[in-house]
């Protein structure tokens, strides 16, 4: 039995002549938030699609609980307990919370031709599933369209947890969310960790990742810059290692320069 629920060994993925990922090593542990950081084009999307079974790795191997596996399809990955919440969330705005929660996996009662969707029980389960991660729904029959982006994100996560995810892959869950909503989503991530799940959090925002992450893997142009425990690195170091680090520094010094010249002008005036 391995320590890691999911392990990647020298995984590479090529698209024709393009090297999207090269020799990625990564270990994911239950009860940990593993943060995957990288700027645009670093290979984050390719990596999660490989994890989720959408792409097959061109080289290298995948280990689940120490045993090598190959995913034939996303369904396969799901059967191993690897659930991915993509940015589009796979929710239908016109449908109710409950109907979305059980979409494609409806619970039924009755027999034969009279089998029907067990609305009452489904409502209860959906409400409880959301309450477990700290989200109170106003009314499980309300349409998703009326919920905020953060609430939708949380619903998608709650759904994945309810249907037996062991490893939860979240693709940019805090993108395009307000400060408060981000906090709510990150709280849900922490809740999932507390429940003993492994969470792989993909983001390019260190400020969102740093508070909840236990480990960081940094990607740059298809290569891994290494995996770090939170205790070993500071937020600034992480930021610097990302491709954006240098440019950010430069921007800061430029801004400081502007501020100085503004001061000078106001002094001479």
């Amino acid at each position: 039995m391995s320590d890691y629920v999911l392990e990647l060994k020298k995984v590479s993925r090529f698209f024709g002549s393009v090297i999207a990922l090269k020799d990625i090593n990564m270990q994911v542990k239950l009860g940990e938030v593993h943060c995957l950081l990288g700027d645009n084009g670093a290979g984050k999307s390719t990596l999660i699609k490989t994890l989720a079974g959408v792409h097959k790795p061109s080289e290298g191997e995948f280990l689940i609980e120490g045993k090598p596996v190959r995913f034939k399809s996303p369904r396969d990955a799901l059967d191993y307990g690897i659930a991915t919440v993509y940015q589009d969330l796979a929710l239908v705005p016109l449908m109710s919370v409950t109907r979305n929660f059980f979409m494609g996996r409806e619970i039924t009662k009755g027999w034969g031709p009279f089998k029907q969707f067990d609305t009452q029980r489904a409502n209860d389960i959906a409400q409880k599933g959301l309450a477990d991660i700290g989200i109170k729904v106003r009314d499980p029959e309300q349409a998703i369209g009326t919920m905020s982006g953060g609430e939708r994100q949380c619903l998608a996560i709650a759904r994945a947890i309810h249907f037996g995810a062991k490893v939860l892959i979240l693709d940019e869950p805090t993108a395009a969310l307000g400060v408060k909503q981000c906090a709510a989503v990150l709280r849900v991530v922490a809740q999932a960790r507390a429940k003993g799940l492994a969470v792989i959090l993909i983001t390019h925002n260190v400020h969102h990742a740093y508070p909840v992450a236990d480990r960081f893997t940094l990607l740059n142009r298809g290569h891994s810059l290494g995996t770090f425990m939170k205790a070993d690195v500071t937020r600034e170091e992480v930021l610097e290692m990302m491709a954006g680090g240098e440019e950010m520094e430069q921007l800061e010094s430029e801004l400081a320069e502007f501020a100085r010249s503004d001061e000078k002008e106001s002094a001479t005036a």
Binding site: D88, A90, M103, G104, G145
Partner: protein
């Protein structure tokens, strides 16, 4: 600064409190407004009031009058139910009208010219219609072309086939005499007969219903077309709202990519819905052929549009994912009442189309508002 608990900051934002501060008391009216059926039910009430006022004494609300407009409503209602399910599933079928003519001919020709017993012709017509529905659905999901175009093609293909086959086999475009062939056939009675004859006879006997001098009541039973309408509405509504498959229909129409991602077999859902519309069209065709005793190649002309209008009046969104079978049935009822009401009240029937267009426009605008209410964060 003194800290005082004013009424404004005391309740509400305390975490863990039983009531959620975000829950707003929604008035019953507001809740009603987000139901898809609302528009068509209130429309139907308005239409009824209008015709009771202007045509109340014209016989429109006598037993035979009621039977008259409810039959017209039922004929449209049957195909509207199919169109409604399909539209909620995110697709269109413009071939419904042509399918009515085609299926009717497929019942009449084998019966009259190949000497098939009528029940085999009926089964044959259903099998043919279902396989055409399957074909349309299969083409739509495999090519990803808009169903509007694919079914438009079938509108012409089926109509052309109907006329060509009728001329080829019978040398005419109206095939009559089916009624005689249907005599005593069990399956034919399911589409062409009436039920409740004893009830109406009894009502006439005790004097509650007008009767002819020989004692037979003016209305001798409920036509099967109305029975089918109610039955299909009941079953379709139950499937849509209460079953797993119904959830898949909403999901497929609402966002088929999302539905596919969570494992809903969207292709199968769509194909089966196309088959269901074909089934509904054939039910109507069978009812008409057995009631009139003939099939005509031009039957069902423009019915596809009337069905879509009824569905839209019923509150379904053209983009899919939202709608109601009950709403579509009320849409069909409005249709039947107005069409017959105009006739009974002596208004020039040209006005019917003006009304229809106007109604459609109002319904679409109304639905747009409803959609905003439902889908936008408040």
């Amino acid at each position: 600064m003194s800290v005082s608990t004013t009424p404004e900051n005391r309740p509400g934002n305390v975490p863990g409190q039983a009531t959620d501060e975000r829950v707003r008391k929604v008035s019953t009216l507001n809740k009603l407004l987000s139901r898809p059926e609302l528009g068509s039910i209130s429309g139907a009430i308005l239409v009824f009031i209008f015709f009771i006022l202007i045509a109340g004494d014209s016989g429109m609300f006598s037993p035979s009058g009621v039977l008259n407009w409810s039959t017209v409503s039922a004929q449209l209602g049957i195909i509207a139910i199919g169109a409604c399910m399909l539209m909620i599933g995110g697709e269109f079928d413009l071939s419904i009208g042509s399918m009515i003519g085609f299926a009717g001919m497929m019942i009449a020709i084998p019966t009259m010219y190949w000497d098939w017993p009528i029940w085999t012709s009926i089964i044959f017509a259903f099998a043919l219609a279902l396989s055409i529905g399957f074909t349309i659905g299969y083409i739509v999901v495999r090519t990803g072309l808009p169903s509007f175009i694919v079914s438009l093609a079938f509108l012409f293909i089926l109509r052309g086939f109907t006329i060509a086959l009728a001329l080829l086999f019978t040398n005419r475009t109206i095939v009559g005499g089916v009624r005689g062939a249907a005599e005593g056939d069990m399956l034919a009675a399911v589409f062409g007969g009436t039920i409740g004859t004893w009830l109406f006879q009894w009502l006439a006997d005790i004097g509650l219903m007008a009767a002819y001098p020989d004692g037979t009541p003016i209305v001798d039973g409920i036509p099967m077309v109305i029975v089918w309408w109610f039955l299909l509405a009941l079953v379709a509504s139950w499937v849509l709202l209460r079953t797993k498959y119904g959830n898949w229909i909403f999901a497929t129409g609402g966002d088929s990519k999302a539905a596919k991602n969570v494992g809903v077999p969207t292709d199968r859902v769509k194909i089966s819905l196309f088959m269901f519309t074909a089934f509904c069209a054939t039910v109507l065709a069978a009812c008409q052929v057995l009631e009139f005793g003939s099939a005509a190649a031009d039957r069902g002309l423009l019915k596809e549009f009337e069905a879509i209008i009824a569905v839209v009046i019923g509150g379904a969104l053209l983009t899919g994912g939202y709608g109601s079978v009950v709403g579509a049935c009320f849409g069909a009822l409005i249709f039947g009442v107005v069409q017959m009401g105009i006739y009974f009240s002596g208004i020039n029937s040209d006005w019917f189309r003006v009304f229809l267009g106007g109604m459609l426009l109002i319904a679409v605008m109304f639905n747009n508002v409803i959609r905003k209410r439902v889908t936008e964060a408040q």
